[in-house]
Subunit: 312 residues, 2 copies
């Protein structure tokens, strides 16, 4: 294990890949690895990219990555697909759009499913981000399909969160209602060559004017991969945001938020493991289900009774 | 509270609505209510309906409900939208397609968001299903957009699970891979008037032939609301499935599975409540985040240390 960690810290992709697999498989060696690498983290700029299906997140990430590679920055990309449990990994498919990057030793790409447990995602994705950071990647991009909790998790994890939308999705109005502005640091209106792009940009800008009187003015950037426009504006916005974070006290705050949410995710996971993997509890649950089935006790009372036994 | 419960047991919609609101708001009176009503549950046939966006779940549910109303059965419908946190309640929009039913006193319709916590969904949806059951509804339909865990939760909760797809979604191959057949009791190919419907039905049937040597042969039913065909086949399939469950020992098994997953969901919720809502823990987490930020300890070690304090 020590050798693998040494190789990771040197930035070797094979070691990185193997350690991520250990995290995915919930290996008992993970805490040891994380303990060893934690002090080597904190240099990567962590960028979250979220948006609904079909907004072209992968195209954006591919373009951003190529731009950073031209600037000699190394990039780690991790795609999380909260729908992969049954619907088949959409992000895996998208990796095809990044195939030119897959052979670049300065780029590391990995897709992760959530294995049916959205809660499980959170704690292991933090580990993967720490691994990419410790491996010396300058930029770590975390991509997720915007479904409920996953967007909030990404925003808590990232230094800079990019929300991607497209013209005519009807998203602008809905997101305004729902408060996605609270997680976005940068808005990208992708497929800006399509009709309605200007209106979408304008709507978002107007909405941001109303909602935000903050120090950071959230930019709304039209991007068109057909026209080849917008990508340098996106890179500038990311860099400006990082400057803003560093110059103010916000970077420290964001990192604290990340550690706090990781800590809570780990506590949740460990507590549930303790509660549910206790083999003695299996019998208790079985017999309680019998009692509930016979209508002698309701589920709430049964849960209360089991808990009193554990947390006495 | 006693009066509300009495009114619920008489089937009064106003009482049902108020009690569901209590569940949604996590009222401290919920355990008391559930305790009182549990022995009055178990008569409803619980039908889960799942499928990706745009497959016409609401149209199907509307048609099924109208068919049951003709047979003088009362129906409760609860829609869960795991994406509602940010994307705006898709299922709320769909209620428009059921507006004729909203004025029928024999039908009760309610949409629930997940409030950003997919874990939180599970425990309260069980309560809502129990409330609908106790109110005397013959049929309780639980609708959810098929995203990851929500499909599995629905299948664990329902007596009969209907998976809805449409021609040309490319779903048939993907779902085969991903194992959705393990949760489906009935497949409905909706919009069967569209091109490719026959192929989709055939593909699903062939796949089911290969995968299932079970006592219950999963039917694949083409449904077209334009042509007005298929709905009586769906109703027959649901009734046949219920007969199958009752004649074999499967109904008892399914109900046990439901109680078990409800119990686990409640234990999770209560444990997390105990762990995270302890005010003394807030200070510990704060200071641990400091320690992690200073790289003096990694998150895994910190979580371990906090847990040792709780579960000593």
């Amino acid at each position: 294990m020590t050798q693998l960690i040494t190789q990771l810290l040197k930035g070797e992709s094979a070691a990185l890949a193997r350690l991520i697999t250990l995290v995915e498989n919930n290996s008992p060696t993970v805490p040891e690895v994380m303990k060893a690498i934690h002090k080597h983290t904190g240099t990567a700029h962590i960028i979250g990219v979220t948006g609904t299906m079909g907004t072209g997140k992968s195209t954006l990430i591919g373009a951003v990555t190529r731009a950073y590679r031209k600037r000699d920055k190394t990039v780690g990309i991790v795609g999380i697909d909260p729908t992969s449990c049954f619907s088949g990994g959409a992000l895996l498919g998208d990796r095809i759009r990044m195939q030119d990057l897959a052979t670049d030793p300065g780029v590391f790409i990995r897709s992760m499913g959530t294995r049916g447990v959205l809660g499980g995602l959170t704690s292991s994705i933090y580990d993967v981000v720490e691994l990419l950071d410790a491996s010396g990647k300058d930029i770590v991009i975390v991509e997720t399909v915007g479904v409920g909790q996953s967007e909030i998790d990404i925003a808590k994890m990232a230094d800079t969160t990019i929300v991607v939308t497209v013209p005519g999705l009807g998203d602008s109005i809905q997101t305004m209602k729902a408060g996605i502005t609270e997680i976005a640091d940068i808005f990208v209106v992708n497929k800006a060559d399509q009709p309605g792009a200007d209106e979408t940009v304008l709507q978002l800008q107007q909405m941001l004017c109303m909602n935000h009187l903050d120090e950071w003015q959230i930019p709304v950037i039209p991007l068109s991969s057909i026209k080849g426009t917008g990508i340098s504006e996106v890179i500038n916005a990311i860099n400006n945001h990082m400057d803003f974070l560093t110059e103010t006290n916000h970077l420290r705050k964001r990192r604290r938020t990340r550690y706090e949410s990781e800590l809570l995710a780990l506590i949740k996971k460990k507590v549930m493991h303790f509660v549910l993997d206790e083999s003695r509890l299996q019998g208790t649950i079985e017999s309680m289900v019998d009692t509930i089935s016979r209508k002698e006790m309701d589920p709430h009372s049964a849960a209360e009774k089991i808990l009193k036994g554990i947390l006495a």
